[in-house]
Amino acid sequence: MPGRHLVLLFLATGGLAVWPSGAARAGAGAGQTAWNWDLTAGFDSFTHSYALANTDTSETVTEFMTQAGFEGRSANSGASRWRVRGEASAGTDLWRERLEADWRRVDHGGSTRVRAAGRLWGRQYRDDSDYARSSNQVEGRGELQVVPWAARHAELTAGGWGTFTGFATPSPLEQNLREFGAVVGARSRGLTGPQWTVSLRRAARSYPDSAAIDRKTWSLDGDVNHQAANGGSVRLFHRSERRLAAEPDVRPDAWSHWTDVAAAVPALAGQATVEIQSESWRYGQPTEIYLDCWRLSGVLGYRRGDILGPQWSLGLAGERFEAGDSPESYAQAGVRAGIESLGGRLNGSLSVEYGRRDYAGNAAGEATADDVTGIATDIPYSDFNYWKLWLLGEWRLGPGVSLQAMASWEPERHTASADDASLGFTNLRLVWRP
C-alpha cells in the first residue's frame, strides 16, 4: 500500500527532524538552520445545498482531525538553501500524509540559479468514510529549474516537471494520471524595478486507463509586477494555451486565453484599486457541453488603512459571460465591502458582497418548446440575487498557540426557487507551535 509507505517515510523523516529541534530552536534565527514542529486539531465542514429533482438537498461533510507537522529550513543567507516539511494527520474520514522538500542554489545577487523540489501526498480513507469516492491515493510531483544564462537585468530559465496520481482502486471517476512538462523562459533579475517573467510550456498528460482523454498542451504566459515608491502597484498577467486532445471527438481541442490586470493608485490617503480579468475559450468542435465562451469580470474599489492596522475597502464588482446564443450568457453586478487587520493578536478579515445575475435567456426558468427548438438551446436558467460572505480570523492565545478560523457562505436566491443553491465552508483550527 502506498499509504503505508508514506507513513513510514514520514515517521522516518519526522524522527530525524524532532531530534535536533530543541537545540536548533534555541538559537534559530535568520542566519541559522531552524527546525520547528507543530500540532493542530480542528475540523473542516463543507455544505452544499441545491435542489435534487423535487426536493431540497443539503449535503454537509464535516471532518474532525488532528495533525502533526515538522519543518526544517536552512539559513536564508547562504548560497545553498533548503526546506523540508512533513505532515501526518488522522481525521474522522481520512488519514493524510504530506512530505515536501526543495533545494535552491542562490547567486551573489540573491537570484536562484538552480531549484529542485519534490512533494509526495498520500490519502487513505477509513472504512466507514461517507465520501462517495474513497479510493486510497498517492500523488507526487518533482520539478527542476535552472538558470543557464544571466545578464544584468534578466536571466533565462529552463526546467521540467513530472507529476503522477495513483489510486488503489481506479475507476472512471478516480483515474490514474501522469504528466510531464518542460518550460523555457526569461525573467527579471534582482529585487528592484519591475518584476517580470515570460514562459513557454509544453506538457503531456496521460491517463493509462482512459487514453481517449489524453492531452498535450502548449502555453505561453507573461507576468509583470511593479511596485511604485508611492505605494501604488500594477500587475499584468496573460496566459494563452492550446490544448490538443488525443481524441477530439471525446474531448475537443481548445484555445484558452486568460488575462489579469490589477492596479492600485494612491488616492485620498488610501488606494483606488482596479482588478479586471478576461477569460475566453474556443473549442475545435463546440459541443452541447463545451461552448465557446468569453468571461469578463472586474472590481473597482477603494481601500484605506494600514495593512497591519485596521483597513477597510469598498467596491463595485461586475461580470459578463458570453456564450453565443446559449441562455447561459449572463450579466452580474454587485457591491462589495470588507474590513481587515493583519497585525494584531486578533486579526483577520471580513468581506461581504451582494449582487444579482441576469441570464440572457429564459428568465422565468421554464423549459419551453424543447421538442421544437432542439436540445442545446433550450436549457432554462433563472436569474438570482446572491450574497458572498467570507471570514478569516486568527486569535493568538499565547506564545505559539493560536486559534484559526475560516468561513464562507454564498447563498443564491433564484427567480425559480427550485434553482436556489448555497455553498458553505467552515474551518476551525487550534495550532500549537512550540
Binding site: 429533482a53 443539503s58 454537509t60 528592484t192 457541453i289 424543447d370 436558467y381
Partner: protein
C-alpha cells in the same frame, strides 16, 4: 461525517403546484365531449412526451458522464428514477399522475445538464488556476523565507492548506466548492504578496520604530530644558507610547506596535508644534539625515561588491532620497515622507543583499 437532509420547501411547492395546473388542463380534456377519443389521444401525447424525455435522459447521461461533477450525477440519477415511475404509472393507465411525474423528470434532466455544463467549464478553469496558484505560491514562499517574513509565511501556509482542500473537493466531484476554495486561496496569496511588497514584518516595523525614535529624540532636543509644561507633558506621553510600541513589537504584535508608534509620532509632533510650526518637515529632514548617514556607511561596500542588483537598488534609494528632498523644498511634506521611507526600504534591501 456526512449529513444529508431532504425537505419539502419552496422548490417542492413549485413542483407540486405545476403538476396540479397541468393535471387540471388534462382533466378538462378528459371531461370534454368525445372524452373517449380525447383520452386515447392524450395517452398518445403522454407516451410521446415520456419517450422524448427518455431521449433527453440518454443525451444528458452522455454529457454528465463527460464531467467529474458528483452533483450532476446525483440529479441525473434522480431524474431517471422519476422517469421510471412516470413510465410505470402510464402503463397502469394512471395518465394524470404519470404526466405530473414525467414533468418532474424533465425538470430534473435540465437541472443535470446545467450542472454538467457548469462542471465542464469549471474543471479546466480550476486546473489553470491551480497551476498558476502553485507557481505563485512557490515564488512567494521563497521570497518570504529569504525575507524572514513570518506574517507572510503564515498567510502562505494557510493559502496552501486552502488549495489542498480545494483539490480534495475537486476529487470528490464538488467542483463549485473546489472553485470557491481556490478563490479564497488566491485571496490569501494576494494578501501575502501585499505584506511582502510592503516589507511589513519585521523590516518595516523596525523602520517605523526607528523613525519614531528619531522623531521623539528630535522633539526632546527642540523642546529643551525650558519647554512649556503642556509640551513637556505631550513629549512624556510620546515617550510612553514609544515604549509600549517596543513592548508590543517584542511580543510579536506588530499591529499594536505600529499603532503605538504612530501615536508616539503624533504626540511628538504636537509637542514640537507647541514651540515651532512645520513639524512634518522637521521629521522628514531628520529621516533624510539618517538616510545620508546609513548610505555613507554602506556606499563603499556597495561599489566594491560587484553586486549589480545591490548597486541598482542603491542607485534607486539615492534617487528616492533626492526626490524626497526636492518635494520637501516644494512644500509637499507628505510626498517627501513617503519617498524618504521608500529610500530607507531600498537601503534595507541593499544591506540584505550585501550580507
Amino acid at each position: 461525517m456526512r449529513g444529508q437532509t431532504r425537505g419539502f420547501g419552496k422548490p417542492a411547492l413549485r413542483a407540486a403546484v405545476l403538476p396540479v395546473v397541468l393535471a387540471a388542463a388534462f382533466l378538462a380534456v378528459l371531461a370534454s365531449p368525445g372524452a373517449v377519443q380525447a383520452q386515447t389521444g392524450s395517452g398518445e401525447q403522454l407516451r410521446a412526451y415520456i419517450e422524448r424525455t427518455d431521449e433527453l435522459l440518454d443525451w444528458a447521461s452522455g454529457l454528465v458522464a463527460d464531467t467529474n461533477s458528483e452533483q450532476a450525477r446525483m440529479v441525473l440519477e434522480q431524474a431517471q428514477t422519476i422517469q421510471r415511475r412516470a413510465t410505470a404509472l402510464m402503463e397502469r393507465g394512471r395518465l394524470l399522475e404519470s404526466f405530473a411525474v414525467a414533468r418532474r423528470a424533465r425538470d430534473a434532466t435540465w437541472h443535470a445538464v446545467r450542472l454538467a455544463r457548469e462542471a465542464a467549464s469549471l474543471e479546466e478553469r480550476i486546473r489553470l488556476r491551480a497551476e498558476r496558484f502553485a507557481d505563485q505560491h512557490s515564488q512567494l514562499l521563497d521570497r518570504a523565507r529569504d525575507a524572514g517574513d513570518q506574517r507572510a509565511l503564515e498567510l502562505l501556509q494557510r493559502a496552501g492548506e486552502q488549495a489542498r482542500r480545494s483539490q480534495e473537493r475537486f476529487q470528490q466531484g464538488d467542483l463549485e466548492l473546489a472553485w470557491n476554495l481556490l478563490e479564497h486561496a488566491e485571496e490569501l496569496l494576494r494578501r501575502a504578496a501585499r505584506v511582502l511588497a510592503q516589507g511589513v514584518w519585521p523590516e518595516r516595523l523596525r523602520l517605523e520604530i526607528e523613525r519614531t525614535h528619531s522623531l521623539v529624540e528630535d522633539a526632546g532636543e527642540r523642546l529643551g530644558a525650558n519647554a512649556p509644561a503642556a509640551a513637556a507633558a505631550l513629549l512624556a506621553e510620546a515617550e510612553d507610547a514609544l515604549a509600549r510600541a517596543e513592548e508590543a513589537s517584542a511580543q510579536g504584535d506588530p499591529g499594536r506596535a505600529l499603532q503605538m508608534a504612530g501615536l508616539a509620532r503624533r504626540l511628538a509632533q504636537r509637542a514640537i508644534a507647541q514651540v515651532e510650526p512645520n513639524a512634518d518637515g522637521a521629521g522628514v529632514t531628520r529621516l533624510l539625515e539618517r538616510f545620508d548617514e546609513r548610505a555613507g556607511a554602506v556606499a563603499e561596500a556597495v561599489l566594491s561588491s560587484g553586486n549589480e542588483p545591490a548597486q541598482q537598488a542603491f542607485a534607486r534609494a539615492r534617487a528616492q532620497r533626492d526626490g524626497a528632498a526636492q518635494a520637501l523644498v516644494e512644500g509637499h511634506a507628505e510626498i517627501a515622507l513617503r519617498q524618504v521611507r521608500a529610500a530607507h526600504d531600498l537601503l534595507d534591501q541593499v544591506e540584505r543583499m550585501l550580507r
